[in-house]
Subunit: 171 residues, 2 copies
DNA sequence: GGGGCCATGTAATCGGTTACATGATTGA
DNA sequence: TCAATCATGTAACCGATTACATGGCCCC
C-alpha cells in the first residue's frame, strides 16, 4: 500500500501519465521503494477506482494523465504524518551468519569479505550520485540527499561491521 | 526460498519437528528472517517433497520429526557459499523523506524525531539481549552475537542519521 | 474433568516479480 | 520505411500474512 503513496506524492506536484511517473520514479524513489512498470499501471487503476486520482486528460497512444483529488491529498498528508511501524529486518546475509559453523573457516570468512567488498563498491556508486546531485536544488534532489545520506551511512556501517566480524573470527 | 535454508540449518544440527523448529526459530533467527507458523509447516512439506529432508520419526499427536538428507546438506552448504545478491532498500521511512515538502516544517521534523526515538528504544532492547546472551557459548548465541552487532550498529547509525537530518532541516 | 500445551494443517488475500502482448507515433 | 520511443495493459506465479480449523495428550 506504499507504492500508492509514492505515486500520490509525485502527482501532488503536477498531473502526469503512468509513463511519466515511471520515468521520474526510476530516477529517484526507486532507490528506496522499487516498483515495476506493471505494478505502477495496476496501482494507478486501483487508485482511480478509489478516487484518489482522476483521469485529467487523454492524449495520443492511449495516454492518460492523472491528477490527484482532494481525497488523494488528504490520504497523502495523513500518511506523511503517520510514523511507519518499525519493520523487522529480513536479511539473507544475517541468516547465513547463524550457520557459520556448517562451513569451513575459510568459507565463513568469505561471507564477510564478499559483503565488505560489495559494500565498498556500493559506497563508490553512492558517492558518484552525491556529486551528480550536489548542484541541483529542486525538492526531490534536496530531499533525496537526505535519503542518500542514509545510504552512505548504511554502507559505511556495513563495511565496519564486516571488518569487525572478520577480526572476531580470526581471534 | 530462504526460510528453506534457515530450516535446513537448524536440522543440520539434529532432527526436530515443525513445532520444535518454530520454538528455536522464534528465539533466534526470527530476528533476521521472520516466519509464521503456517509458513514453516508448509515449507517443511515442500522440502520433504523435494527430498531435502525426510520424516525420521512419527510420535504422539501426529508429531513428525524431520531429518536432513544428503541432498539437503549439499543444498545448505551451497547456499552458504553463495553470496546473497545485494537487495535494494525498501523503506517506508525513506520514501516519506522524498515528500517532506508536502507537510509543514513541524510535521517534517516529526518524521525524524519519531524515528530517532524509536531507534533509541530499539537500541535499549538490543542492549538487554546482549547482556542476556553474553554468558552463552553455544553456536547460535556466538554467531547470533555477530548478527546482533549488526543490529546495534544499524540502530546507532539511524539515530545519528535522524539527528543529522534534523540539523539540516533547521538550517 | 478440564486447562494448557503440543502439534499440524488449510484457505483467502496481498504485494511484488517476470513475462508476455499490443499497438500508436515520431523522426531520421 | 523502419527503428526508437511512447504507452498501457494482462496473466502466472511466488512468498508472506492473517485467520481459521482441528484435535490429541498430560497433569493437576
Amino acid at each position: 500500500m506504499t507504492l500508492r503513496h509514492a505515486l500520490l506524492g509525485l502527482l501532488d506536484d503536477e498531473p502526469a501519465s503512468g509513463y511519466d511517473l515511471m520515468k521520474v520514479f526510476n530516477s529517484s524513489m526507486a532507490n528506496v521503494w522499487p516498483a515495476t512498470q506493471s505494478q505502477v499501471y495496476t496501482e494507478l487503476n486501483k487508485m482511480s477506482d478509489a478516487e484518489l486520482i482522476t483521469v485529467s486528460a487523454e492524449g495520443a497512444r492511449g495516454r492518460k494523465d492523472y491528477a490527484i483529488t482532494d481525497t488523494g491529498r488528504t490520504e497523502l498528508r495523513d500518511w506523511m504524518r503517520t510514523p511507519p511501524k518499525p519493520k523487522a529486518i529480513r536479511s539473507d546475509l544475517l541468516l547465513r551468519v547463524f550457520f557459520l559453523d556448517v562451513v569451513s573457516p575459510a568459507d565463513a570468512r568469505a561471507v564477510f569479505t564478499a559483503h565488505r567488498d560489495s559494500a565498498i563498491a556500493q559506497r563508490k556508486r553512492l558517492d558518484e550520485i552525491v556529486g551528480q546531485i550536489a548542484s541541483n536544488d529542486d525538492p526531490i534532489s534536496t530531499n533525496g540527499r537526505i535519503a542518500l545520506e542514509f545510504g552512505l551511512r548504511k554502507t559505511d556501517m556495513e563495511i565496519g561491521w564486516a571488518q569487525w566480524a572478520l577480526e572476531r573470527l580470526d581471534s
